[in-house]
Assembly symmetry: C2
Homo-oligomer: 456 residues x 2
């Protein structure tokens, strides 16, 4: 609950940029998946770090929960205000503050989206490659340690955030990291905050590593007879050390979804969507090596996209695959899974998952960033159908346990939020999860920062 | 102080592998640089994680300081027992536990050295590239977030440690990370412990990322007329995105030291030592591009080392450069500096440092991993010469402030230990350093883990 007095106090420091309008609360109380709506009591739109600090000081003094919000595209209920409180929407803190092109880094406000940043960078010859599909905010991507299609080559947010400005639970503003390429100076606070899902503080500035736009890009789609062939081709490609920029798997059900959504006519078999970055000679080399490998696994139906517009069309298909899957079943919602296993266990993990879903009465297209060993099943359920929801959760649960059995993680890129908390003890052990709780308690003793997420 | 009763208790759980012999205490009370000796009260040689846990439980109950020890090659006094206590020497926990060659990872005990690991890996086609020069233990390298000559291509320990087993201050054993290539599962405990210098717990197992041994390697030495030409050539090389495996700078004084130490005859001008990794065509491409760049900066005296024995000879020179510098002045000790700046500021940082040292009455060869923006001056002082020591500290202090002014860090790879604590507030701000202290207090409330290092 936020009282009228508290609301007035917040409104004063934000010069009126805080609202309790029902539409705003509803918008910020939704999630992209199956979680029940949980609107906040108010939504703030700060413009500056000082405003964020002032807002958090008020919340700290009065024990009001604070939930950060970027674009609302997280998939484990990270932004749901399950205890009410104040949603801090960063959409108006979306300035690109400093581009250092010679050092290949950039400092941005958290509301900048990845597409906005790349549009802005275009003329510099640089790019920010991390690409989770959704046009997410960079603050949100840092908070879930996001990755996506290009992590196989360029790393995740863990690798590409080099410094942060953070407002802690009591309103204190700290800076982490530096613009040096490496440092041994003290605890790695940057890494501690990346992936912390807003439970330790709110990020108000990010310094990100940039990469050169590749001289040459080539992309392709190719088809395989079965899951085993496609996935084994991926494993061989990664083990050969081919520096793939993207290597994405779609099972036949995902291809069916994409075809229906985008009016394409790919054959209904498993596919790989791939991309190569490098010099002209380098890309030619990679393409040749990849071609040899996948031929051994019976790849066919190669569809090359050398031109920018063809590549854009191809990756738009892939980016929309989640929505395409949802569209397979009108009005449905999804239970989204996100396991990541050591690459040698990928075929086993995908096959067992596919078998499990095939035996079930619900649909679950499988797709993912298989070069990292990361894949998803989008388990489709009718809203308010408790039987389907229970079945989806059963499948998701088995999938998560499978990842752990194979030495992997229950979440490669979506994070813990509300949806994966039950696996924390299994994945990390009670002692390591207790260590995370001790860190949380040290930095947020009143438990006001996104309470109920990630830690017990 | 460790009492006789405490010693007996430790001896019991370690089956006698704990000692108070003067030679052992002296050996573990030294540092490689200017710090005063500070021997522990006893030295333990555990064989298992369970033994480490039992030992720490005893120390925790009785508030005995615990200091981890690998090979004693840290440079900021990290292993000095300034409050006495128990030194835990990991030299007998040196087993390579599990190599997963298809997943390119390995799990080792902390006493395994990097050379031991690479010798063991030779037949697998894999390697662990992080190379700080000294044949350090991997546990120690993790604890200082070490890097060295190859970080420009393969990253530092931050990038190459994917999981840990840690014994916390109360003896609790935790596991961090997984064998998946990425994860969004909770706080990044692995990154928190890497670089923590034994102040949060003792590492008893490490899982490391491996890399394929390059198909082709080529190395070279080349000479420049002046510092500016050499350093600007490095900046241009990095900004062109040439994936250098190593790019090391030695100023003329360092070359003089190397010549004297290894009986070589390089001209007394600044040099770059470089190495290229890749496919045959890829290396040829890199060599050609690098050649063009450095020609613009007047490089000469190219000395190529395509054969393994020539390369080994070359990198042995570089690895011994620290000892070569010490040998410039018989019986001297050193104040070692370790700044790292954004690459665009490298020339400014090196030039100002060289000018400063030139104006001083002490010698300080300059050398370093300039591809990361990281370089050192080895400031040479007579032992017990307070005037020289004060001058070296003055130069080191100015160098550190210069790094901060240029947006860098006071330590690229050596860590904080005792030597850099005074810069923590300046580098991170009082608030961020207080945040580090809060984390330390949360995990080690009795302050028994390497007390007096890194945090206030």
């Amino acid at each position: 609950m936020i009282t009228d007095t508290q609301f007035a106090e917040l409104s004063l420091v934000l010069k009126g940029r805080v609202t309790r309008s029902k539409s705003d609360l509803d918008l910020h109380g939704r999630s992209e998946t199956w979680f029940a709506n949980a609107p906040p009591d108010a939504v703030a739109y700060p413009h500056t770090t000082a405003e964020v600090s002032a807002v958090i000081k008020i919340c700290h003094a009065q024990a009001i929960p604070v939930i950060g919000w970027g674009t609302g595209t997280s998939l484990e209920g990270q932004t749901l205000a399950i205890n009410g409180g104040l949603c801090v929407d960063f959409s108006q803190m979306n300035a690109i503050l400093r581009v250092h092109d010679t050092d290949m880094d950039v400092t941005v406000q958290p509301g900048v989206t990845r597409e906005q940043l790349n549009t802005d960078l275009r003329a510099t010859g640089l790019m920010f490659p991390v690409d989770p599909g959704a046009n997410a905010s960079l603050g949100g991507m840092a908070m879930t340690r996001a990755s996506g299609t290009t992590a196989v080559r360029y790393g995740t947010m863990r690798d590409n955030v080099i410094g942060l400005q953070v407002v802690l639970a009591d309103g204190t503003i700290i800076h982490t990291g530096s613009r040096a390429r490496k440092s041994s100076s003290g605890y790695d606070l940057t890494a501690l905050f990346v992936g912390s899902e807003g439970t330790l503080g709110l990020v108000t500035e990010l310094t990100l590593r940039l990469h050169g736009q590749p001289e040459t890009i080539n992309a392709a789609v190719c088809a395989f007879d079965d899951i085993d062939s496609a996935v084994n081709a991926v494993m061989a490609t990664i083990q050969m050390g081919i520096p793939m920029a993207r290597i994405e798997f779609l099972d036949s059900k995902s291809v069916e979804a994409v075809n229906a959504y985008a009016d394409t006519t790919y054959p209904l078999v498993p596919h790989l969507f791939v991309e190569f970055h490098g010099s002209e000679a380098g890309v030619a080399d990679q393409v040749a090596m990849f071609g040899e490998i996948v031929q051994d696994f019976g790849a066919s139906g190669f569809d090359w996209a050398e031109k920018l517009e063809d590549r854009n069309a191809l990756w738009t298909l892939r980016h929309n695959a989640f929505y395409a899957c949802l569209a397979l079943k009108k009005g449905c919602i999804s239970v989204v899974t996100d396991i990541c296993v050591p690459i040698s266990k990928l075929a086993e993990a995908v096959n067992e998952t596919a078998d499990d879903i095939a035996k079930s009465f619900i649909d679950g297209p499988i797709l993912g960033h298989v070069g990292d060993g990361n894949f998803h099943s989008v388990l489709l359920v009718e809203p308010d159908n408790a039987i389907e929801l229970a079945e989806a959760k059963r499948l998701a649960h088995r999938m998560a346990l499978r990842a752990l059995k194979l030495g992997g993680t229950v979440t490669g890129e979506h994070g813990i939020g509300l949806g994966k908390k039950d696996f924390m003890t299994r994945e990390h052990g009670a002692e390591a999860w207790a260590t995370m709780s001790a860190l949380k308690a040290a930095l947020d003793p009143k438990n006001i920062m996104n309470p109920g997420k990630l830690v017990p």
